[in-house]
Structures are given as C-alpha cells and as structure tokens.
C-alpha cells in the first residue's frame, strides 16, 4: 500500500513537471532550461503554470509558461480567433497599449500568435512591458509570457523558451 502511494506521488510530481537533462517540463511540453532562473509551480484544474525569475532581478522580469487543456474545442481556435481573444484579454489592463498581433511558427513547428503590451499592474504605478505568446498544442494552449519593468531588448530567454518548446515524447 505504501509503495503504491509513493509511486502515485512520484507520478504526480512528474506530471507537475520539473527540470532534467537540461530541459524544463510542464505537463506534456518541455523546453530548454533557463540557467540561473528559479522556478515556482502552481496547478489548477486543467492548467499548469510555471513562473521563472532570475536570481538577481533588477529588471523585475519573469517568464510565465502556462499549459491549459481546453479539450476538443481547441480545434476551433484559429489564429484569427486567438488574436482576437488575446487583444481583448489585454484590453482591460490599466493604461494598456498593445501592438498588433503577429502570427508565428516556432522552430519546433508549433503555430500561434504574439502580442506586446505596455500596462500598469494593479496597485502599482510603474509601467510594465509584456510579450505574450500563445501556441496551439493539440487540445491544449501553451502561453509564454515575458513580463518586465525594464525589459531586456533582446528578450533572449523568451526566445529560447518559445523556440525550444516542444511536445514531450
């Protein structure tokens, strides 16, 4: 009995996703690990979230990766629909200024949309910059958000996550 519980807990921990072999795992997706960045995970019913922040964070930046299972309805999510929903989702942020939504295809062949938004978070006065990428992955969507008060021009870590994101074999 104890062995079964231990195995169950180990499987659950694996399902939540951690890093190994230089890769970070989140549900059924994986991407190249971010060296020197700390990870914290949360999990809701159909959604797994991993937030990465650098150990020294003068830019107040973070990368959030969210994998959310939508089920069969995900087949109806065209790039146009995702673009519209993404713009609308950001429209209520305080002092939000969005760029036009751009379509993208990652190095691993995932397709999606990308938008950049400047906004002021709740209960703060400082403006933050966000890059929000949404990728379709079967019956799920994968969100990658780069959020920073003083954003890095290259956004190298965001590019690394987006370009190496792939379905786990």
């Amino acid at each position: 009995m104890r062995r079964a519980v231990a195995i169950g807990l180990a499987v659950a921990a694996l399902g939540c996703g951690r890093s190994h072999d230089g890769e970070e795992e989140l549900g059924t997706v994986a991407f190249k690990a971010l060296p020197g960045w700390q990870r914290s995970d949360t999990r809701a019913r159909n959604t797994q979230t991993a937030v990465f922040t650098p150990a020294v964070n003068s830019r107040k930046e973070s990368i959030t990766v969210i994998r959310t299972e939508l089920g069969p309805v995900a087949a109806k999510y065209t790039p146009e629909m995702m673009s519209s929903l993404l713009l609308r989702a950001h429209s209520a942020l305080a002092q939000a200024k969005s760029t036009p939504v751009a379509r993208l295809t990652t190095a691993e062949g995932l397709t999606g949309v990308r938008v950049e938004v400047d906004f002021v978070p709740p209960s703060l006065t400082q403006s933050y910059h966000r890059v929000h990428v949404v990728l379709a992955q079967g019956t799920a969507l994968v969100h990658v958000l780069y959020t920073a008060a003083a954003p890095e021009a290259e956004q190298a870590m965001l590019q690394q996550v987006v370009n190496t994101l792939h379905e786990e074999s």
């Binding site: 809701a44 107040k60 973070s62 609308r88 989702a89 429209s91 966000r130």
Partner: protein
C-alpha cells in the same frame, strides 16, 4: 390445526375492526357519547366573556404598499422656501452647479458601466484562452 389458527386470526381481525369503529363513532362531534369529553379535534370558537383585547385601538400598522414612497412627514415636516436662510436660499437657487449636475452624474455612471463591460469582456476572453489568473498580475514582479 391450520383451520383453527385461521379461524382465530379472522375472529381477532373482526373484533379489532368492531372496536375501532365503535371508538370512531364515539369521537364524532355531536354524538351523545362525546359530549363534554373534550376529545373533539374540530375547531370550536373560544368562549370569551368580553370584547377582544386591543390595547390601543388605532395604533395598528397597516402593511405599506411596496411600490409607494415613504411619507416625508406630512405638511408639518415641510419647510417653505420663505423660511430658508440666505445661505440656504442661495444653495437652492444654485442647485444645478452644486451637486445637481445630472448630466455629469449620468456620464460618470455611463463611463463606469462601460469600464465594467470592458473588464467583463476581457475576463471572458482570458477564460476562453484558458487563463485562470488575472492577466494584470500574472508574472508581475513588484
């Protein structure tokens, strides 16, 4: 043996039915056997010797019609314009610019309603994208 038992059961049932019927007849109101016994369950007017007690007749509070306004206190509660002080008269005369600018008030409510509708639309779009946490605070390092 079986016949004896059967006859005994039938007799017992007959005796029980006869006893129950007799008791039911005895408890009926107006039957001679129940007079004064106090076993009737039908309602009887309570015998009283005087008038019903109402401590202060006229103090009853009738139910207020739900869609009528409450009284402002009657004519005794009214303050005629002539009895107002000079400041109060000035305030009343200048009422539109001192709190009675209904256009501005209505515009403020309309703006707030528009904002709430926009927030609801954004929340709905985020939910359709599977986002369960508020986008405004997701990933924000304060």
């Amino acid at each position: 043996m079986r016949n004896v038992v059967l006859v005994t059961v039938i007799c017992s049932v007959l005796v029980a039915v006869a006893t129950w019927k007799h008791q039911a007849q005895a408890s009926e109101p107006g039957s001679g056997s129940s007079a004064g016994s106090g076993s009737s369950t039908t309602s009887q007017p309570e015998p009283i010797t005087g008038d019903p007690v109402i401590p202060n007749p006229g103090d009853e509070t009738p139910q207020k019609p739900p869609f009528t306004m409450y009284s402002h206190g009657g004519s005794n509660a009214e303050i005629p314009y002539a009895q107002l002080s000079a400041d109060e008269k000035a305030w009343a005369d200048d009422e539109p610019s001192k709190g009675g600018d209904w256009q501005a008030i209505n515009n403020a409510y309309a703006g707030a309603s528009r904002l709430r509708a926009q927030e609801a639309g954004a929340s709905s779009a985020a939910a359709m994208l599977g986002l369960t946490t508020p986008l405004g605070s997701t990933g924000v390092v304060p």
